[in-house]
Subunit: 135 residues, 2 copies
């Protein structure tokens, strides 16, 4: 498939796909006229790339680890990197969990009918119950 279709399928921009290639994350066959052609498997690969970007990995790190993750093989060096990144992600999850719990506490407390949240007059309890029921 060509780049536009891959972009549509994987939900990223055409520019992003070219950028991934530039960073050595995604290879493409070229037609005689220079157009990129991707196999079906490219969609999965793009998903994986996005996944790793979302976890805070840089292009360089992704380029280093992507083959390992796809093939499930690793050298001692790459295994060290993998472990380091996993630990970093673990720490990030822990931090995010604390942050979420903190926000939850604010939401629950300030949203509770008994909490005296009526610090701006004119709020009726119905709207508050609505928000509280969000969870």
């Amino acid at each position: 498939m060509r780049i536009g279709e891959l972009a549509a399928r994987s939900g990223v921009s055409v520019r992003a796909l070219r950028y991934y290639e530039e960073q050595g994350l995604l290879e493409a066959d070229r037609s005689g006229s220079g157009q990129r052609h991707y196999p079906e498997s490219a969609a999965d690969r793009v998903q994986l790339i996005q996944m790793l970007y979302a976890a805070g990995l840089s292009s360089r790190t992704i380029a280093e680890l992507l083959p390992c993750v796809e093939a499930k093989v690793s050298t001692p060096e790459s295994r060290a990197r993998l472990t380091a990144e996993r630990d970093r992600i673990d720490a990030q999850i822990a931090a995010l969990t604390r942050t979420r719990d903190r926000l939850d506490a604010v939401i629950l407390f300030s949203g509770s009918p008994a909490s005296g949240c009526r610090w701006i007059a004119g709020q009726d309890a119905a709207a508050q119950a609505n928000h509280t029921a969000t969870r």
Copy 2:
């Protein structure tokens, strides 16, 4: 305390503290000569700011929600924002967890002695056991 000490205590740079003030996240008393003076409580506030930055909130959003989080009060609007951010963080935690599990699978599989990871010759099982024992 002055800005240098606050920076040292909270582990952020002086520049960052000035930036926070510029963004309306952190206020400071000024001495006659214009130097910033912070109360003890500023350290906690900075920690909270860092926490929210780390969760992916922008300066603008933090400025909006910081008073709510500190005082545990909220208007209906801010509660909606709080809920939205919490949900976003929840989703991010879920995505990170999936990513971590994927990395874990690679580490465990490629690190297992029986996995045939010896695809580069010359590795002894002892080093592998070391890495495996990391967790």
